[in-house]
């Protein structure tokens, strides 16, 4: 995909190398020496390291913009016959954009965490983990082959596990951590198989070689369980399983809401801005493969659509502020997959970038409120909030910006990216584009609705949490608010790099990413008027959602109870998250445990196998007892046995010859 104007650099480049390894170094040092020597200064090293990473990534970004591409291996990681995998880096526009976003957002969140995590006994641990996470995320993004992608993939999962279970004394936290890891593992199961099949069919794991060999498998079919399966579809589908796990898409989405047990900065960084987008990144990275199979594109779009709609429907019913935002994340991730599924990879990536800022901001803002209420039994409950507008102005304004951005109000970052997706979906050459567009439109208004539900419930009305706050509610410390402000700026400005040409913009992002991701797959004649119309509709949808939220939560609060009473079944259905947890519990977890305990352990292992083993010992024992009885001690009987022995001899003799 690399076009001519790029200069390929295959030598080792220390700057690129340092981008991920500075955080790693900081993390290791903090982890080993943090407890003894750094204590409450543990944040220093990671923050400095990350700052430099950020600067380096901007340097690298500029170099990439100027037409350089880095592709080199540090060393050969695994080498076995025709399998050769290195640990290496591929810096092209896609990864350059990603690393800039990742380092930027994580730097801000690091700073924020200094305030948020202050005084926690595991302070050093937190920074060590979070730096480690950044390392793995960068390795994931920068990898030039599938195995290293897998390394980063699992590594971020691991850090996510650590950080979700950061407060490990809390049962729910460690449960959630474990759940996250295992659900991810299920996805990775498919991902690993995908890697294997990629190697099987293509004989390599390097991206560039994969892309160059793709034509070989374009028309290949293989028989799986009696069905003829298109090989690209098979590989892509298996890899996509991993994406479903990591990006919490439809059947494997259950871990993400639970992951909110972790500290809020973690939710912001890992479960909103960076890690969960790895799936989208992977799909974009491997888009030539995905594009080979229309069925696969449909599945991507379809899964995205389901997730998007489902989580948007669940979000308004939740009372846990972080969960609401988490469902919103799910929904937005679904959006990105929808974009990928209609071939709008650039739009997806664009949304990924803008989403990072406003979603991180949403979380951090929520974290700011939670920080205020941290003495409450459940500080995340929006029912104890309210009226915080006057006490926490910065938080309010930044959160408002984020909400406006996510709702797609023009001028904010979300508007541009979301609009791009909807437009490209509408004009997509894939037949399901229109449907995706329609769904996207509906979800856009739902998104606006629940986003503003938070705003209205938390910042308007009466404050209900007096008993949990000492004195007046107050604004968070500056170390927390400054990152909020920066993120708010990001939530506005990030969109400006992709102002479409219709609105007179240059659409830098598209130009930048086209060499990697290719032009949008749209039908050719797109009239400007149609684009305007679509834009208008999407803005309208957002505004409708905000209006509805205003109606229900400010104007007529009784409507809320009325609604939840009257459509009770639907409400419960939504409130219980479509019963997915219960479904998995009763269909997968319980039967597995039951089979393990009752069938495998009790019947097979203890009864059958051990029965045979111990049974043979017992048989010997019983035989011995029987023989002892025969051994009467009477000499006449001894003689009789001798006679029997003679008979045996004679019998054998008779049968000889």
């Amino acid at each position: 995909m690399v076009e001519k104007q790029f200069e390929l650099i295959t030598n080792f480049d220390i700057y690129v190398f340092l981008i991920p390894f500075l955080p790693l170094l900081a993390s290791i040092i903090t982890l080993i020496f943090g407890k003894k020597y750094f204590r409450d200064k543990a944040h220093l090293l990671p923050i400095i390291a990350l700052f430099f990473s950020f600067l380096l990534s901007i340097k690298v970004l500029i170099e990439v913009i100027n037409g350089k591409i880095y592709h080199f291996d540090i060393y050969t990681w695994m080498f076995a016959y025709n399998l050769k995998v290195g640990l290496g880096f591929l810096v092209d526009p896609l990864s350059a954009a990603m690393i800039t976003m990742v380092t930027c957002v994580s730097f801000l969140i690091h700073v924020y965490s200094v305030g948020y995590m202050g005084g926690d006994p595991g302070y050093y641990r937190f920074f060590a983990y979070i730096s480690l996470f950044v390392f793995f995320m960068l390795m994931l993004v920068l990898s030039n082959n599938l195995a290293q992608l897998y390394l980063g993939w699992e590594g971020v999962g691991l850090c996510s596990y650590f950080l979700i279970g950061f407060w490990y004394q809390k049962g729910s936290a460690s449960d959630a951590a474990k759940k996250a890891f295992i659900v991810n593992r299920i996805g990775d199961f498919g991902f690993a198989l995908g890697i294997f099949s990629a190697f099987y069919f293509l004989g390599t794991l390097y991206y560039n070689e994969i892309f160059s060999k793709l034509p070989e498998i374009a028309d290949k079919y293989i028989e799986v369980l009696g069905y003829e399966v298109h090989v690209p579809f098979l590989i892509a589908f298996l890899l996509f399983c991993g994406a479903m796990g990591k990006s919490a898409q439809f059947p494997l989405h259950v871990w993400l809401p639970d992951a909110m047990e972790g500290p809020t900065p973690v939710s912001a960084l890992i479960h909103a801005a960076t890690m969960v987008t790895a799936g989208v990144f992977m799909v974009c990275r491997l888009h030539p493969l995905f594009e080979l199979s229309d069925a696969m594109m449909f599945i991507v779009a379809f899964i995205g659509a389901i997730t998007c709609f489902m989580s948007a429907s669940i979000a308004p019913t939740q009372f846990d502020i972080k969960r609401v935002i988490a469902y919103s994340t799910l929904s937005q991730l679904g959006y990105m997959f929808m974009a990928c599924g209609v071939g709008a990879f650039i739009a997806g990536m664009f949304h990924l970038l803008t989403h990072a800022y406003f979603k991180a901001l949403l979380f951090l803002g929520a974290g700011s409120i939670i920080h205020l209420l941290h003495h409450a039994p459940d500080p995340n409950d929006i029912r104890i909030m309210g009226g915080l507008k006057k006490y926490m102005p910065i938080t309010f304004w930044t959160l408002l910006i984020a909400s406006l951005s996510i709702s797609g109000i023009p001028g904010f970052a979300g508007f541009f990216s979301k609009d791009e997706i909807l437009a490209q979906a509408f004009f997509s050459k894939y037949p399901w584009g229109k449907f995706i567009w329609l769904l996207g439109l509906i979800v856009a208004s739902m998104t606006a609705f629940y986003s503003f539900r938070i705003i209205f419930r938390a910042f308007f009305g009466e404050f209900k949490g007096w008993e949990y706050v000492h004195g007046e509610p107050h604004e968070s410390p500056r170390v927390m608010t400054i990152p909020l402000i920066f993120l708010a700026i990001g939530s506005i400005v990030a969109g400006w790099i992709g102002i479409p040409e219709v609105l007179g913009g240059k659409n830098h992002i598209e130009k930048f990413l086209v060499p990697v991701l290719g032009h949008p797959r749209i039908i050719h004649e797109v009239s400007h008027s149609a684009e305007y119309l679509l834009m208008f509709l999407s803005v309208l949808a957002g505004l409708f959602g905000i209006f509805l939220a205003w109606l229900i939560y400010i104007k007529k609060p009784e409507l809320e109870t009325l609604l939840s009473k009257n459509v009770r079944a639907l409400y419960t259905f939504l409130y219980r998250k479509w019963y997915f947890d219960e479904l998995y519990h009763y269909i997968i977890v319980r039967p597995t445990i039951w089979i393990s305990r009752k069938v495998v352990v009790a019947i097979t292992d203890n009864t059958i196998i051990e029965g045979i083993v111990n049974g043979s010992a017992r048989l010997v024992n019983i035989t011995g007892t029987g023989l002892r009885i025969l051994h009467t001690g009477i000499v006449n009987h001894y003689s009789t046995f001798i006679l029997i022995g003679i008979l045996v001899y004679l019998l054998v003799y008779l049968y000889l010859k």
Partner: protein
């Protein structure tokens, strides 16, 4: 003149009678005597073979058997007497301290 077969049959019958006594009687003395009966059967066997084959070895074996019988009787009887003195019984089914 009776044939060799007749002598052999006689010897087998004697042997079997002795064997049955050996197997079935409880009295140790009778068991020892049964051994003598069996040996007598064998004496007949060897003597007869020797006689009919005109070979001297059989007779010499008979001589040895008689001597062995004496030795065995001496040992057996001394054991029986000792057992009677020590364990107050000469019945084989009462001498079952070791079994199993």
């Amino acid at each position: 003149m009776p044939s060799l077969e007749q002598y052999i049959i006689l010897s087998i019958i004697l042997f079997l009678i002795g064997l049955f006594g050996f197997l079935s009687r409880r009295n140790l003395i009778v068991i020892l005597i049964s051994i003598e009966i069996m040996l007598n059967g064998l004496i007949v066997l060897f003597a007869a073979i020797s006689h009919f084959t005109k070979d001297i070895s059989g007779y010499i074996i008979v001589f040895f058997i008689i001597a062995m019988a004496a030795a065995e009787a001496a040992i057996g009887l001394s054991l029986v007497v000792l057992i009677y003195k020590r364990l107050r019984t000469v019945y084989s089914d009462e001498i079952t301290n070791f079994k199993g």
